[in-house]
């Protein structure tokens, strides 16, 4: 099963793409584990994910803390804190 990973704002810019479809390895217990794994994919990923305190995430469009269980989402989004309105 593949997972759609979405990036927004400067996370997207540093990685160089807004979306990638990936086969996630077994053993990723939390969102933070996924972020750590993604950081190894490229220097851009590494830079985007260097400081996890600056990241927020959503699993299937539900906002979660980075220490939330990852489960088996179809869509994961990783992004900075929001600054809208």
């Amino acid at each position: 099963m593949t997972t759609e990973i979405l990036y927004f704002a400067w996370v997207r810019e540093k990685i160089g793409t807004g979306a990638e479809t990936l086969d996630l390895p077994a053993g990723l217990a939390t969102v933070a584990d996924l972020v750590a794994w993604l950081a190894g994919r490229s220097p851009g990923h590494a830079e985007a994910f260097a400081d996890p305190t600056r990241l927020r995430a959503a699993l299937d469009q539900n906002f979660v803390a980075l220490d939330a269980p990852l489960g088996r989402p179809r869509e994961v989004a990783i992004f900075p804190p929001v600054t809208g309105g």
């Binding site: 400067w10 959503a58 929001v82 600054t83 809208g84 309105g85």
Partner: protein, 146 residues
């Protein structure tokens, strides 16, 4: 009657206003957020999370309608590139009584700043920078916690 829209086209205040003025409303409160030319900002670019952003706005509007007796609530948020003076967001609430409309309007704009996935990038002196979240926005949103 709840309506939310996230769109790159300029916000038409007249059309927004006509849409909120529903039969029976005694008061209509609105808030518009505009691009400011602070620090020489020449453009503002808004990004959102399609689907999730709209859902977050609907959830906010439903929360407001449940907490106050609203006859209508609208949230229209522009995305993409804007220039100073452009309207970024327009929030409108209608209710039989003015206090409900005024409070719900303030609630929506405060909570929207922290609860809806939008990201702002400023262009100034030819360079771009992502806007950092502000503690004052968190504080404004927190005052509505029950």
């Amino acid at each position: 009657m709840i309506a939310v829209m996230v769109d790159p086209t300029p916000i038409d205040i007249g059309a927004e206003y006509a849409a909120i003025a529903v039969d029976g409303a005694g008061g209509i409160a609105t808030f518009a957020g505009l691009v400011r030319a602070d620090d020489g900002v020449t453009a503002l670019t808004l990004e959102h999370y399609p689907g999730a952003t709209e859902a977050a706005l609907v959830a906010l509007a439903e929360a407001a309608a449940a907490r106050w007796a609203l006859s209508a609530a609208r949230i229209t948020h522009r995305v993409g590139r804007m220039v100073p003076g452009d309207t970024v967001v327009f929030v409108a609430t209608a209710a039989r009584h003015r206090a409900a409309a005024l409070e719900a309007c303030a609630f929506l704009i405060d909570r929207l700043k922290t609860d809806a996935p939008f990201w702002k990038k400023e262009t100034l002196a030819g360079a771009e920078r992502w806007v950092e979240p502000r503690d004052s926005d968190d504080a404004a949103a927190a005052r509505w916690r029950p």
